[in-house]
């Protein structure tokens, strides 16, 4: 091959060597990935504006001017009524009883401290707005929106030299964001961890790439190997968005018990269920997901009621490090995450495997 197939327009846009984007909530992972020649986006959706500013400063001190991004979950809709306090009184007894049955059956410990959902946001856009102001003031190189359209902030971002990424789960969302001038579209498939759309990664990436013109597309959902990277580029993407891949790496701050569960897990060990939050979400199977999947389980409640139900189980399991109960968001590519490697090695292994894949496909003339 005469042209480096991994040097894409995304690399040129961001000034990076490899078209690999690590989405992580861990600053140490982000720094290691950035200093390896790839790109990292730090998930800050649950952080206060002050915490975000501190995290940006911490990363800047460690990456020698290399670019990075910050991801926020900009809301796209907000209920017109009902406060969290009102909602908490409305959980039906049937579901409360089922939650208590699970806690008794598995001896689920209580959280060490009361779970306060007020601190965790999610019901209005005021937090998103305040978080956004920090990113603009700090002129962070890339702002990524993990859900809602970032179109309204494009002018303000571009005036400050900031690139804006938008994550979509449907082609029509991509079309709207492309028309608005979003710099990069992340097309996320059903294979992904957490809350995903209904389209598979192969379908949505090709679909969005077909309408994207010169705008780079990033493939997200189930990407954990160099072969996935090569396939994504063949589909028309200019890079890949990876999350699960970094959860069990050496620098990750994920609990060691959960890391071991991730390393042992296959795609079959993930569950695409509404039982955690009331919205579809892909996580590692655990007693909570298994019990709510049974025919005798009551109907899952809509958000935020179901999260109110599951929060004690999740927090209690984590506080007491009960490996038999703990879970974590994980995509279908988790089966390829089998070693606790340094993030730098993950980057290099992925690059090498992708190049090998391309050579196998094209029959590198240098080898003949």
């Amino acid at each position: 091959m005469t042209k480096d197939p991994l040097h894409t327009r995304l690399c040129d846009m961001l000034g990076i060597e490899y078209p690999i984007i690590a989405f992580t909530h861990c600053k140490d992972v982000a720094v290691s990935v950035i200093n390896s020649g790839a790109f990292a986006v730090l998930g800050e959706a649950m952080h206060t504006p002050e915490e975000i500013a501190a995290d940006i400063s911490w990363i800047r001190e460690r990456v020698d001017g290399r670019p990075f991004g910050v991801d926020l979950v900009l809301p796209a809709s907000v209920p017109a009524e009902a406060s969290l306090d009102q909602l908490m009184t409305k959980i039906p007894q049937e579901q409360r009883d089922y939650e208590q049955m699970i806690k008794r059956k598995y001896d689920v410990p209580d959280p060490k401290e009361g779970v306060d959902l007020h601190q965790w946001g999610g019901l209005n856009q005021a937090l998103g707005r305040a978080q956004l102001e920090v990113l603009l003031d700090e002129r962070v190189p890339v702002i990524a929106s993990g859900l809602g359209s970032p179109a309204f902030l494009l002018d303000a971002a571009h005036e400050r030299g900031i690139k804006v990424f938008g994550l979509v789960g449907k082609t029509r969302q991509a079309k709207r964001q492309l028309e608005a001038g979003v710099d990069v579209i992340i097309a996320q498939g059903y294979d992904a961890a957490g809350h995903t759309g209904a389209m598979g990664t192969f379908s949505i990436v090709a679909d969005v790439a077909a309408i994207a013109g010169d705008t780079p597309i990033i493939a997200a959902g189930g990407v954990t190997t160099g072969r996935h990277l090569a396939a994504a580029l063949c589909l028309g993407a200019s890079g890949v968005w990876t999350g699960t891949l970094w959860l069990a790496c050496r620098e990750s701050d994920v609990d060691m018990i959960v890391k071991e569960k991730l390393l042992a897990a296959t795609a079959d060990d993930t569950s695409y269920s509404t039982c955690i939050s009331g919205m579809t979400m892909r996580v590692l199977k655990c007693p909570w997901t298994e019990e709510w999947a049974k025919p005798e389980a009551p109907p899952v409640l809509p958000p935020p009621y179901q999260m109110l139900l599951s929060s004690d189980y999740i927090q209690g399991s984590n506080d007491h490090r009960r490996g038999d109960l703990m879970t974590e968001a994980a995509g279908q590519g988790v089966g390829f995450v089998t070693e606790m490697k340094p993030a730098r090695q993950i980057v290099f292994d992925m690059v090498e495997e992708a190049l090998t894949a391309f050579e196998e496909i094209t029959g590198d003339p240098d080898d003949e």
């Binding site: 909530h25 959706a45 649950m46 979950v73 900009l74 809301p75 796209a76 809709s77 907000v78 209920p79 017109a80 009524e81 009902a82 969290l84 909602l87 409305k90 779970v115 959902l117 965790w120 946001g121 999610g122 019901l123 209005n124 856009q125 005021a126 937090l127 707005r129 102001e133 993990g146 859900l147 809602g148 359209s149 179109a151 309204f152 902030l153 303000a156 789960g169 449907k170 029509r172 969302q173 608005a180 957490g194 809350h195 759309g197 939050s277 009331g278 919205m279 579809t280 979400m281 409640l301 809509p302 958000p303 935020p304 009621y305 999260m307 109110l308 599951s310 929060s311 999740i314 968001a329």
Partner: protein
Amino acid sequence: MKNEAGGMRPGFDAAMAGKRAECDGGGLVAGTRFAGRQEFTGTLTGDYYDAGDPPWRWYLLRDLTSKPEGFPADAVWCESESIFLVEQR
């Protein structure tokens, strides 16, 4: 969306009033660090808020004919770029 003192500027857009629309909605799920998607279909009232600067516009969608099962409200504020007019599909 009720805090007008917090930089929310209400208005009315007659051109949007009465139009059927779908909203690809959602937001941060309370208690997690993840986004959750929710879809709605209803009728735009024309009421809107512009939040902050640059303005972030939100339209009110009422008479919801489809919403997530058990959704607690009768109406939903939708971010303008997440609204798809039914006639435009």
